[in-house]
Subunit: 159 residues, 2 copies
């Protein structure tokens, strides 16, 4: 598996994400319309979180009709419900989910230099959080774990 930090054939990431989305939506009966797929594609245009208004601006460039904010937010809401993207609340931005389909709460490593963001699934973190909640008698419905710092690439670059 290639790392998001390495140069790689990103078109492959995009087409894979779109294909997976189509499959999942077909299976669940959700309607992945042209607009929704387009927004998903824009979210996947890089491994950096993208804001709703940036998506709006891209849509304005690429599509005939100029969309309004609610159009974009509705598409984003749909994609989140389907588990195809995540919202990073510390950035007010959205990023594609690399392994959609299963409901999960990812842990995000956000590079403050290059902005590349990696979602990881880490058993020890999940377990410690679960046990912490149990200790407190707290029932988690949603976990936002957003770690900001420097990715390995950018650390090297700064030396």
């Amino acid at each position: 598996m290639t790392s998001v930090y390495q140069t790689h054939d990103h078109h492959h990431c995009i087409s894979e994400a779109l294909q997976e989305a189509r499959t999942l939506c077909q299976r669940s009966g959700a309607r992945l319309t042209h607009l929704r797929e387009k927004v998903l594609e824009l979210v996947w245009q890089s491994h950096r979180p993208i804001g709703a208004y940036d998506i709006l601006a891209e849509l304005a460039k690429q599509e005939e009709r100029v969309a309004q904010p609610p159009t974009v937010y509705r598409a984003l809401d749909f994609l989140m419900e389907q588990g195809l993207i995540h919202r990073l609340s510390s950035l007010n931005a959205f990023i594609g989910c690399p392994h959609p389909g299963k409901k999960h709460n990812g842990c995000f490593l956000i590079c403050q230099n290059c902005r590349v963001t990696q979602e990881i699934e880490h058993q020890a973190i999940n377990q410690s959080i679960a046990s912490c909640a149990t200790d407190q008698g707290f029932k988690i419905t949603d976990a936002a774990i957003e770690l900001t710092g420097l990715c390995s690439n950018c650390q090297e670059a700064q030396e």
Copy 2:
């Protein structure tokens, strides 16, 4: 130690927080002005996160001069720099730090029903996050861990 979920003498929480803030600021040479102290007091008015504009509204009620947004945001920035409050990005709101003075990244349990929010220090979580970062060669500078769900009180109430 009384839990934030239990009924307790909250005036005690407030005065303790203010006293600790005064001590810390004196020690560090930071200027805890009237405005900043007032804002800190408002943040501590409950164990629920409060938004900047709610603080603004309270200030308008309680003070002579009507403050503007930058005034409040600057006070909040100061309080965050001093480690006296935290910002919860998933709520765009602020909450008092129960053990200020040491730099730390708290883990927050946010009840979606009563909104009471508890900051906990959990070794296993800190460790698992640190080891996760190490695995990835990632250098964390800031961690936002915000867990939303139901506190024990509200779970009981819903049965």
